[in-house]
């Protein structure tokens, strides 16, 4: 499933499949989840009448009423802490935190309670809640609007952390997240909100599974979120240069699909990890370390990573220098000790 950037007309698609932007797919997933389960409620800042600053909750209040989708006071710890109490009492809250950096006020609630309450109570209390966070850059946003904070969550035991890279996965993963008995941090790559693709609402996806986004035999690119289309683009370019590049969409950061990733890298013997977040002590370093350890005997070259710099996210006009791009990925591929000496 790849992202089709063309505006394919709906009637051109088969009956049970629609062509949707990722934002529309997320909106549909929320609507379908609300319709399917009376305990599902959506709330946060500006998710009601406005439909969210990215319009992901567009029309939900109108369609399902204030009881199912509503605005809260402006306080992220309040939003998450209240959701914890609701989840303790049988509801399935799906909350939106407006941007990565504005999830930080809720960090104590997330780490000390959302992640730990199930364990604390020996499973007596589960936390079926979803925290949606628009994440990453590439949209020219000002400071605090473009961070990638997946490492904070992925490092925290007890949290499931997922991020889709296609409208299909956006739909299916969000449905899976809402159905999960465990708390899920759902990271929505802002840059991909408007990209379109086919969505089959009957397709399900298992949390914990990676996806082979492109077959290839020379080198494996490991990516998630907005780095997946980048990896695919790099693979395309590399193909033109004669290299067969495999792309794995990690998709579920925790739990991690070691089986798929290890098999993929063993099959090619070379790997590059791609992610936007600063690289130090990141999910990218985790993947790099895991792959190194599990594929050591199969590696033709050190696993490389292409990540954001260890600097605060760049201001809009410097963003293009900050973000991983095709050239940087191709450079990393080139460095993988090729026999042809490239």
């Amino acid at each position: 499933m790849t992202i089709a950037h063309d505006d394919i007309r709906l009637d051109a698609a088969p009956a049970d499949v629609r062509v949707l932007s990722m934002s529309a797919a997320l909106n549909l997933a929320l609507a379908d989840a609300i319709a399917a389960d009376p305990e599902v409620v959506v709330f946060g800042e500006d998710v009601g009448a406005l439909g969210g600053v990215f319009r992901i909750t567009d029309g939900l209040t109108e369609r399902f009423g204030e009881d199912r989708c509503f605005d809260t006071p402006l306080a992220e710890s309040g939003i998450v802490g209240t959701a914890v109490g609701m989840a303790m009492n049988g509801m399935r809250p799906v909350v939106e935190l407006q941007f990565d950096a504005f999830a930080l006020p809720a960090f104590e609630q997330i780490v000390s309670h959302v992640a730990k309450l199930g364990n604390r109570t020996r499973g007596g209390v589960r936390m079926p809640l979803v925290i949606r966070i628009p994440f990453g850059g590439g949209i020219g946003g000002v400071e605090h609007h473009c961070d990638s904070s997946e490492a904070y969550y992925a490092h925290t035991p007890g949290l499931t952390v997922v991020s889709p890279s296609t409208p299909q996965d956006a739909y299916s993963l969000l449905r899976a997240a809402i159905s999960s008995p465990d708390p899920v941090i759902f990271l929505e790559p802002k840059k991909l909100y408007w990209g379109k693709g086919e969505v089959d609402t009957s397709t399900t996806v298992d949390i914990g599974s990676a996806r082979i986004a492109r077959e290839g035999s020379d080198v494996t690119l490991l990516a998630y979120g907005a780095s997946v289309p980048l990896a695919l683009e790099a693979a395309e370019t590399a193909a033109a240069e004669g290299r067969s590049v495999q792309v794995v969409d990690i998709r579920s950061l925790t739990p991690f699909d070691d089986a798929t990733v290890t098999a993929a890298v063993r099959s090619t013997g070379r790997a590059v990890v791609i992610a936007e977040a600063p690289g130090f002590a990141s999910v990218a370093s985790e993947i790099q370390a895991r792959v190194f350890e599990r594929c050591f005997e199969y590696l033709e070259a050190p696993v490389r990573r292409v990540t954001g710099f260890d600097t605060p996210f760049a201001p809009p006009k410097l963003e293009h220098w900050y973000l991983p791009d095709v050239d940087r990925v191709l450079d990393a591929i080139d460095s993988l000790h090729w026999e042809d000496g490239a």
Partner: protein, 370 residues
């Protein structure tokens, strides 16, 4: 409600004074004698639980114990004021309230014993896990109450915190969410004058903690936290209001932490013995006892019965805590998520291998695992 009615009184509500004399109040009625007897029984048990836990700490059977000695009127007041369908959201210091609510003492002590993070079934007695990160549980109470009201239940949630916790951002957010969503929550602050070593005067410059309520549009009230009659009346009133849809209330109960913060603390470093001694005269047990004896309600027989009941609880605590629980290392991995991830399974296998090798090696080379 008029704005002025959101403000607490200048003097805390008190229905029985430190000498045990009844104080009449225009708004709050004194609970009847039966209820006061039940409260007294609770106080006796609560005090015994505190003492017993202290002893168990000294004997090394409990890792730590934050005592509510001196605060038993708050602890028991809360437990008695709650209806059976209501919920309690307590802190680490509220073990007495938790036990008075019906939780088995041994299960309540699991956290402090060090066997697990929380040891009781929260639904069995409608008591949330005791919270350690300050003020965070107030928000859980709000969400919990929201869900109950949404289902049309008439559950009320009482959320506890200390004076120090009112300074945390989460206190503010919880009060505000509760008021905006008009949920059936009562916030009951035990102002015991200290947050570990920090006195109330360093915590706030407000006329009282209850004065914070008007800033959220909810009523605030002050009560003498060592007067269980007052606590029952003020709390009962707030719970009734919450139950009938009148929204949340903030109550500040003024009391005093008679012992150190926990056994690990040394309170001689930050407060004078005289100050502590002065509070002995305001002890919640003494005054209620005097009141009930004066009223002819508390007979020596009843006293003996209550004392015996308290002893039974203490004995059960001793027995439970003197037994070492059979701890299972796999528990580390069992409850993290509802399905164990491949990563956790791998890690458990690593640990299991270690333990297996240790077990098989043990007979030969004591202490070594390799």
């Amino acid at each position: 409600m008029l704005h002025e009615e959101l403000l607490p009184r200048d003097v805390a509500v008190q229905l029985i004074d430190p000498e045990g004399t009844a104080v009449d109040d225009a708004r709050y009625a004194r609970p009847d004698t039966d209820r006061l007897l039940a409260a007294y029984r609770g106080l006796v048990e609560g005090r015994r639980i505190n003492d017993q836990a202290g002893a168990l700490v000294r004997q090394g059977r409990l890792a730590v114990y934050p005592s509510s000695h001196g605060q038993e009127a708050c602890q028991i007041g809360v437990a008695l004021a709650l209806g059976s369908e209501d919920w309690l959201f307590p802190t680490y210091r509220d073990s007495v309230a938790v036990i008075a609510r019906g939780v088995d003492p041994a299960e309540a002590m699991v956290l402090l014993k060090g066997d697990w993070h929380s040891g009781y079934d929260v639904r069995a007695n409608r008591v949330a896990p005791q919270a350690t990160p300050l003020a965070t549980q107030l928000l859980h109470a709000v969400g919990f109450a929201y869900a109950a009201r949404r289902r049309g239940e008439d559950t009320v949630v009482v959320a506890l915190c200390g004076d120090g916790a009112t300074s945390e951002g989460d206190f503010h957010e919880a009060m505000n969410f509760a008021a905006v969503f008009h949920v059936p929550v009562v916030f009951f602050v035990q102002n015991n004058e200290f947050a570990i070593s920090v006195p109330l005067s360093r915590q706030t410059a407000a006329p009282s903690l209850a004065h914070k309520a008007i800033g959220y549009g909810m009523p605030g009230q002050r009560v003498d936290g060592n007067d269980v009659a007052g606590v029952l009346a003020v709390l009962g009133d707030a719970i009734d209001r919450a139950r009938t849809g009148d929204g949340p209330t903030l109550i500040e109960a003024h009391t005093y932490r008679m012992q150190a913060h926990t056994n690990a603390d040394d309170d001689t470093r930050y407060r004078a013995r005289d100050e502590v001694r002065a509070w002995v005269e305001r002890d919640p047990l003494t005054r209620l006892r005097a009141h009930l004896v004066d009223a002819g309600a508390l007979t020596p027989e009843l006293e003996a019965e209550y004392a015996a009941g308290a002893e039974t609880i203490a004995a059960a605590m001793r027995e439970a805590l003197n037994t070492d629980a059979d701890l299972d290392p796999e528990d580390l991995f069992r409850f993290v998520t509802s399905t164990r991830s491949p990563q956790l399974q791998e890690q458990w296998q690593l640990l299991r291998d270690e333990i297996d090798r240790e077990t098989s090696a043990a007979p030969q080379t004591a202490g070594g695992t390799r």
